[in-house]
Symmetry: C2
């Protein structure tokens, strides 16, 4: 059975040009991977907004990260050098008020790998060229969004030194829990926050240590425990896969189990991870997740999990329900990517909000019945 993806004609719904930067003189380079929730008649998107210093020329008083020795050391920049000798890297500093600062790395540092425009690597040291925070967007029709000028959530903690990314919103008993990726020099991990009003936000710390992201918390207890999918990235043995965990309080997680992995020869053979927050259907919990094929194409599919034993996979998409085809999906900051952090179900219509080409925000509508009918049983 074919699943029809009805892309909204207004796509992309939000682009970097729609978002003023929160840092003066910086540039918004990406507005994507939004958590989504509908509260009454209002649709809220919590956007990941990445900003980059627009004029990377360092000035007197700016600090350089010297990577030429055994470990990174800070020293004043050499303003006599041509500006393009330096690459700017934004991050939190160690001051008590945890400001975002721009530091500089010499482009000609021996062994520096600057081949990926998103990051710099030397040996085991990694720096990002942009820093992400979250911006709230509100809509009465789910299509046209007003974006708040100030950030809803910013990086503030040591494990958020390089930014906060990819929020997912799970509503439980009137509280909106937001899990998100926290990035620092110590790794990529998952943190939790909550809000009751999308005005003030409380952070609850890191819930899953490095390396772990693509966490999607179930919107209700199942069998008396909170439940989540998560995606650890092992190093010595194994490959990134979707695991399952349980909790009594959403902060402490245990009972970890392997849930599902990549499938050789399919659209998700190379890499896999949770996407939207799962929701309950008559047949099971439905999770829209992402998979990567050998061409590096990020696509979306669905997995059906047991109603009472949601760590058990019942059925999965044999083919993507959405793959990069539109121009704004195939080309951008990082092309050939569709990636979701949230969807909204109304009747049979499942509206999936998704980041496209790691740059803009779009949406596509699906028939839930069509998705369910398209799944192939597993096991």
């Amino acid at each position: 059975m074919t699943v029809v993806a009805r892309r909204l004609p207004e796509n992309p719904l939000l682009t970097p040009d729609d978002i003023p930067p929160v840092h003066g003189g910086w540039k918004v380079v990406c507005a994507f991977n939004a958590g989504a929730i509908k509260i009454g008649a209002e649709t809220l998107l919590l956007l990941r907004v990445a900003e980059r210093p627009e004029r990377p020329a360092p000035q007197a008083g700016d600090q350089e990260i010297d990577l030429s020795g055994a470990g990174p050391t800070l020293k004043p920049v050499d303003t006599a050098l041509p500006a393009d000798n330096y690459i700017a890297v934004p991050m939190l500093d160690d001051s008590p008020d945890r400001r975002v600062v721009v530091r500089y790395i010499r482009r000609n540092t021996p062994g520096l790998d600057a081949s990926d425009p998103r990051l710099l690597k030397k040996g085991t040291h990694t720096y990002l060229t942009s820093i992400s925070s979250f911006r709230l967007a509100r809509s009465t029709d789910g299509v046209h969004f007003d974006v708040e000028h100030d950030a809803a959530m910013r990086p503030t903690e040591p494990l958020e030194r390089y930014g906060i990314e990819d929020p997912r919103i799970t509503a439980i008993d009137g509280v909106y829990f937001i899990n998100y990726t926290a990035v620092s020099e110590h790794g990529i991990c998952t943190a939790l926050a909550s809000t009751r009003d999308f005005v003030s936000y409380e952070k609850h710390g890191v819930i899953l240590p490095a390396e772990n992201r693509d966490v999607t918390i179930f919107p209700a207890k199942v069998g008396g425990r909170y439940r989540t999918l998560h995606r650890p990235v092992p190093k010595e043995i194994g490959v990134p896969a979707v695991w399952f965990a349980s909790s009594d309080n959403l902060v402490d997680w245990g009972e970890h189990r392997f849930c599902f992995g990549s499938r050789p020869g399919t659209w998700d053979s190379q890499r896999i991870g949770g996407g939207a927050v799962p929701f309950r259907t008559a047949r099971g919990w439905l999770e829209i997740y992402h998979g990567v094929n050998p061409d590096g194409q990020y696509a979306l599919g669905a997995v059906l999990l047991g109603l009472d034993e949601p760590w058990k996979v019942l059925a999965r998409s044999p083919a993507p329900i959405l793959k990069p085809e539109a121009d704004f999906e195939t080309e951008g900051f990082f092309g050939n990517v569709v990636f979701t952090c949230g969807c909204i179900l109304e009747g049979d219509r499942l509206r999936v909000y998704y980041g496209a080409a790691d740059m803009v925000t779009a949406a596509a509508d699906f028939s839930l019945e069509e998705i369910l009918a398209s799944l192939h049983e597993e096991g």
Copy 2:
């Protein structure tokens, strides 16, 4: 200040020759990395015992893991082939009773890496050449041990398919909690079990997902929460480091923080991880941990953590308190390694039990005062 390590003259205390295999016709290759606890007058070691099929010649009915295609597939072995065409890999099977079985991989599989005698790798697929379980050893003098014939704990769960390793014992309110490394094709993670009598053991599942080991649980609540050190291994950003987590029930863990990492130019510059279960001193919680230097030498040192804020490092060993020097430490299954999972403090005498050369079990005595006086303040 110099710390004197007084190795016991009876070292090594236990070797593979002291341990009968639990699998008929197999060979015990390692008896090491023991959790340690003293209960009354009795010292208990929970040894990691690795066993390997002694005659790897496959027989009719045995299964081969075929790695020549996109994914591993099982098929009957070809008994017409010379026996040394096959390498034996033990693991749990998928039967309801979760038996340990021996499977076979063709030595001439294209792309197979068999350079490390401990494991086989092809692409993202990894197999171990031995499988570990735990064996209890009892002693009235802490030096001479009687080893039980049967295994105290065996791999039984899917995430333990390749074995269970490196137990640590933490006594809390009359219950002995045993955390250990669970190894499977999905990665290296940490599981929890408990016992009240070292006769029956209850498993509580995986407490920290892949990749995470070297977990050392504090023997008391601090500030109303259970606490642990753990050692995640990130892949994309960061290096293995010691993190800190908290729990209300020892099963679910959260509030993850970075605790301490490797130090460039020192004995622990290359890799680091928790060792023995930490214990309380007047000056702070003392943790004996392991570090690796650029020569690949695994040595032991100490870190002092805050009494009330045990995620804060107060002081650390500027030099190892124990490094491989004796023959049984420099040569063995994997030479140049000393590694601890447990120590016992009596008065000022700290007896550190340690695995040597990933093969045998030994012990060394230290003066606690000497260790504390040797630490250099950090921060």
